[in-house]
Amino acid sequence: MPPIVRRLAGGLAMPFGSVVFAFVVGALIVGVTGANPFSAYAGLICGGLGIGCTQGENPALEISNTIVFVIPLITTGVAVALPFRAGLFNIGAEGQLLAGSMACAAIGIKFNTLPSPILLPMVLLGGMAAGAVWAGIPGVLKAVVGAHEVVTTIMLNYVAQWLLRFLIIGGPLQLGPGTSKSLPIGDGARLATLLPADNSLIVLGLPSSVFRVHTGLLIALAAAALFAFLLWRTSFGYEIRAVGQSQKAARYAGVSVRRTIILTMLIAGAFSGLAGAIQIAGVDHNLTDKYFSDTTGFDAIAVALLGLGSAVGIVLASVLFGALHSGGAIMQSDAGISSNLVLVLQALILFSIAANFVGAIRRGLPIGRKPSALPPELPPAAGLMSEAATAPPETA
């Protein structure tokens, strides 16, 4: 085998194995409870990828629906993966996404008369800024006093949740008494769909408006590309990785660990915030109670891990998780299996990656093209005791 193939195979073995493991154990759980795992998975695959549908589903529609789920996963996946590289565990992508969606909605409502070329950048940048602030707080706390980012980001997720409730139930963004959503954002703040939202135009046998894939897809792919570029082709990305692998060595090399941590979190937050803004601008067009139950930012953790922290991996993992999400509903209506099985599968994938991941690192096996996705020196949680926990001493 040529080395490149071997490395590629080595890189794919673990994530692929994790997915297989999850599906096998999932099948056992389904089987033990007296249902047919094969029909369950057939529904899942049909709904996720539009393959093998038997109940008259339109494959293009299923793919389109999956892509709509994939878009925010890519962007938040990047928001989790980038801090991973710096040795930080961003569990707060969800809160940052909410912050981004709140800011996007607020701006999109307040300035709803502005034309698209002005308003659209405003809402997207506003969402990014809000996400950056939301991630910046843990970044600063980590860099300055060594507060562990896992805990601070979890706390801020909840704060964002309650802030959202405040805004749309009785608060300044509420549509009207008794509602739990906001006014719609201005037309100028909306991202166009790839196909026109036209009920009379028939594409692939369906009105084109059912295909909800929007230009946010391009933004998400651009975000993934930017992430890869930043990480591997810039001095800042180099410094992020250096800090993630060895804070001491980075500090000795003159990299400001504090600055890198704060900047990394700000950028990550901007990505998450962008995901929230894209959802508002591209899909929902208003802030609704559906964000109370949003889990994109948590799925992003699995996406980042399964994607081994690489841009291509994140996109592929996002497709998997988007397909699982999308397929769950088809599985339920076609096969009568509760879509909660999807959560079980996601958890199993996580167990499997987590267990393999560190195991592989400990055994010193190279993972993928680049040395490793997670800092192999210490798992992110090790930050609980790393030197950073006692605030890195730094020269002026």
Binding site: G47, Q55, G56, E57, N58, L61, N65, V68, F69, R165, I169, G170, L175, G176, G178, T179, S180, K181, L183, P184, N199, L206, P207, S209, V210, R212, V283, H285, N286, T288, D289, K290, Y291, F292, S293, D294, T295, H325, S326, G328, A329, I330, Q332, S333, D334, G336, S338, S339, N340, V342, L343
Partner: protein, 343 residues
């Protein structure tokens, strides 16, 4: 407001539909075709111990009686509403039912895309983003006058207080809401209105747990109200509210269940305010099977027995029974109209 006007029209429409239904139930020809019915829950899921569950019960009932294929999709997040509704629509289901007012916008959107598919939505209409009803001809709204049900249990609470038949008789009763949203507040509005009508000196405490799933939160709310002297606790918070019923049982006071008959939840439950989502779902399906789908609003109220109350672990005195029958008749006839907004 337009909303109220629409409501009124809804009542008229409902009355007509029911009249037709009563007139010739089995006259709908030869239903040899298997009807496909799709039900989409909101994020509460099938086990919400509330309206999603009741809708499923109605669907099962219809399945037992008609030749239908009944499929369910649980929405895991708000992002699922549109794709879930769309999936059924693209597969040419004969009726797609959305459960809960959270789905209004999604139903508005999808029904516009699929004008040939019939939609029903419980607790809402097919709206645009601003909450304005799009009045699509393929959408049927299944509304409930929760205030009617709330009023009936409010009569019980007020009557007990007035006549010193409650546990503490401090002229305080309570209501524990989930989140301050219309379906919840309609119940509370009727409850408060009727309790005040029965016992003008009664103080109605209204608290919100901000939660529909955690019974402990509602229990805390109820305990606080009991501590304030409340001796009838009305839960309007789905699964969370079950905690309020427990609090009443433990605190030795009466409680009132919501949506379904919650007699079994606790011995303290003396009555339940019924919102017959199961009946509504069943009716909507039946209409489709009989080729009688009709757009617009179908409102379920005391008048058409789509809302009401049940007496549970309690033997009401004759006087109270008389009072209840009287009020119920007055509401039915339109002589009394419980308010939709909390007074």
């Amino acid at each position: 407001m337009a909303h109220k006007q629409f409501r009124f029209l809804g009542v008229v429409a409902a009355a007509m539909v029911l009249a037709v239904a009563c007139g010739g139930t089995s006259g709908g020809g030869t239903p040899t075709k298997t009807f496909k019915i799709g039900l989409v829950t909101d994020i509460g899921g099938l086990n919400d111990k509330s309206f999603n569950h009741l809708a499923d019960v109605g669907l099962e009932k219809a399945k037992a009686e008609f030749k239908i294929q009944a499929d369910v999709k649980e929405s895991k997040s708000g992002d699922d509403y549109v794709p879930n509704l769309t999936d059924f629509a693209t597969k040419s289901y004969d009726l797609v039912i959305g459960v809960g007012f959270l789905m209004q916008e999604a139903v508005g959107t999808v029904s516009g895309t699929f004008p040939n598919v019939h939609f029903s939505i419980i607790d809402g209409a097919g709206t645009d983003a601003k909450g304005v009803d799009l009045k699509h001809s393929n959408v049927q709204s299944l509304f409930f006058k929760e205030q009617d049900a709330g009023a009936m249990v409010g009569v019980i609470a007020g009557w007990l207080e007035k006549n010193g038949k409650a546990k503490k008789n401090k002229h305080v009763v309570g209501a524990v809401g989930g989140i301050s949203i219309p379906p919840v507040n309609h119940y509370i509005a009727g409850y408060k209105w009727a309790a005040k009508m029965e016992d003008p000196s009664v103080n109605v405490l209204v608290g919100y747990s901000n939660n529909f799933t955690d019974p402990a939160k509602c229990k805390g709310q109820a305990q606080t109200q009991i501590g304030q002297g409340a001796d009838v606790i009305f839960q309007v918070a789905g699964g969370c509210g079950l905690g309020a019923l427990q609090a009443a049982g433990q605190g030795g006071v009466y409680s009132v269940g919501v949506d379904a008959d919650q007699k079994d939840a606790d011995a303290s439950v003396i009555a339940s305010a019924l919102k017959k989502v199961d009946v509504a779902t069943y009716t909507a399906i039946k209409n489709v099977v009989n080729g009688q789908f009709q757009s617009g609003a179908l409102t379920f109220s005391i008048a058409n027995e789509g809302a009401g109350y049940a007496i549970d672990n309690f033997d009401p005195p004759a006087e109270l029974k008389t009072e209840l029958d009287k009020i119920q008749a007055q509401i039915k006839s339109g002589a009394l109209t419980p308010p939709a907004d909390i007074p």
